[in-house]
Amino acid sequence: MKIGPDRQTFWDWRAAMNFMLGGAGSGLILTAAVAMASGSPARFPILLGAAMVAVGLVCVWFEIGRPERFINVLRNPFTSWMSREAWAAIVLLPLAVAVFAFGLPVPAMLLALAAFGFLFCQARILSASLGIPSWRLTGTCRLIVATGLAEGVALYLVLSPMVVRGGFEWATFVLIAALVLIVARAICWWRWRSTLGRRGPRASFHAVRRIDNVFMAAGHLVPLLLIPAAWALPKLAAPLILAAGILTLAAGWILKYQLITRGAHTQGFALENTPARGGGRAGPGIRPEWN
């Protein structure tokens, strides 16, 4: 039996999909809502974002042990962030469908608020998991929110050719927002990773360190070069923006998949003191496999 932190096995790729699709989907709805407020096209991104959120939740439905009782997830919004996430989805999805299907004049800020609420609940689900040290770190919530927002903007960039027919006339704020969010996510990641290295299980740290290169280089440095390049080279703007969006989105998904399925180790067991057996003396405490 393992004494130190052990990789969790109760949440697999299906739970990771909820965080990947739900984070990117809610981020996309939020971006689209802001775009809508500024008069840019937003109906299709809102529908896609809602579909992603819904598919993510369906993935979780396939993971729970008693799917026929799924409605019970709504019973504890008072303390459970999973319950709150479900309630946020109940608000978000009908709003998004109303905007897309019926063109209802839902206030953009209301939609943005609902999308952010869903994203925030997802982040808090992880940070409230006291038994998984890499999730409960202070910076986890910031990291998940930052990557969800970055993924949403990135996805909006990827969709731009379909959203704006005949060109790439998206609002400048989306590009600037993408730059800001990519930088913000890199800072959040760096701080979170440093904290994990100092105060986390070694196995979790090693697991997340494996994605360092691809996450930072391909997911941050390259997009940070591509977006300004798109401004400088208008003829190449379309493929450059597309590449930046795909890389930013993929990096976020890799991060979340790694964090949920590979970089999540249990607390493990620890003793404050070891006993004085027989005529011996008491010994020091033990906490195996922690930094």
């Binding site: 109760f10 729970i64 042990g65 303390t79 067991f269």
Partner: protein
């Protein structure tokens, strides 16, 4: 509950008694005994540590539970309502003591078929939902109803405590100053696991007699 680390010999009788009484599925151990080797030669140690649900005063599993299946009774026991639980596993992520299990398969040890005792002990209500040590809550409730004292009368005491060959486990009411567990805590130095997390576990480990 109190576990005297000086006394525990790691015989796993408590584990066996728990499995026998609660008919837990293969791989599920509501009461486990860790066998921990520590130190460097020649100063090495071997410590046996009973673990399981700590029945925390501030149970993180209860806080995160979306279905309200996990609750804490007034007497401090943390319970799971199998009929409400959706088996989301969130409580397993919240528990820092790895005390919770979820089993979605039949209660059998071998692929070939189910043995008679396995069929007899099949607990369908536990399938696909969270489960953990209950401190033998049925024995406690029935014992109290019969006017017995948990921790003093074996019929009202968790089976792991009754089965312990080394008298390493003790159970009782910490609010009662004259109970055995209260006296043990007065006479020995103790700690609770992962106390820094603020869960206020109800499981104490004795490691040295008080000076």
């Amino acid at each position: 509950m109190v576990a005297d680390l000086n006394r525990c010999v790691g015989c796993q009788t408590c584990t066996a008694a728990c499995k026998h009484a609660n008919a837990t599925a293969p791989g599920v151990q509501w009461r486990r005994v860790l066998d921990i080797e520590s130190g460097k030669f020649p100063d090495v140690r071997r410590t046996f540590v009973p673990v399981g649900c700590m029945h925390c005063a501030k149970p993180p599993c209860m806080e995160v539970c979306p279905s309200t299946a996990t609750r804490r009774r007034d007497d401090g026991l943390v319970t799971i309502d199998y009929d409400l639980c959706i088996g989301c596993g969130y409580c397993m992520a919240a528990c820092p003591y790895q005390a919770r299990y979820k089993v979605s398969t039949r209660n059998k040890a071998y692929e070939a078929g189910t043995m008679t005792h396995e069929s007899a002990g099949e607990r369908w209500e536990r399938r696909g939902v969270a489960q953990k040590c209950t401190f033998c809550i049925d024995r406690i409730d029935e014992g109290l109803a019969a006017g017995l004292t948990p921790g003093e009368d074996t019929a009202a005491t968790p089976v792991c405590v009754n089965a312990c060959i080394a008298d390493a486990l003790a159970f009782g009411d910490l609010d009662e100053p004259e109970s055995r567990v209260s006296r043990l805590l007065q006479d020995n130095r103790s700690f609770r696991m992962h106390e820094e997390l603020g869960t206020e576990p109800g499981f104490y480990y004795l490691w040295e007699p008080s000076a």
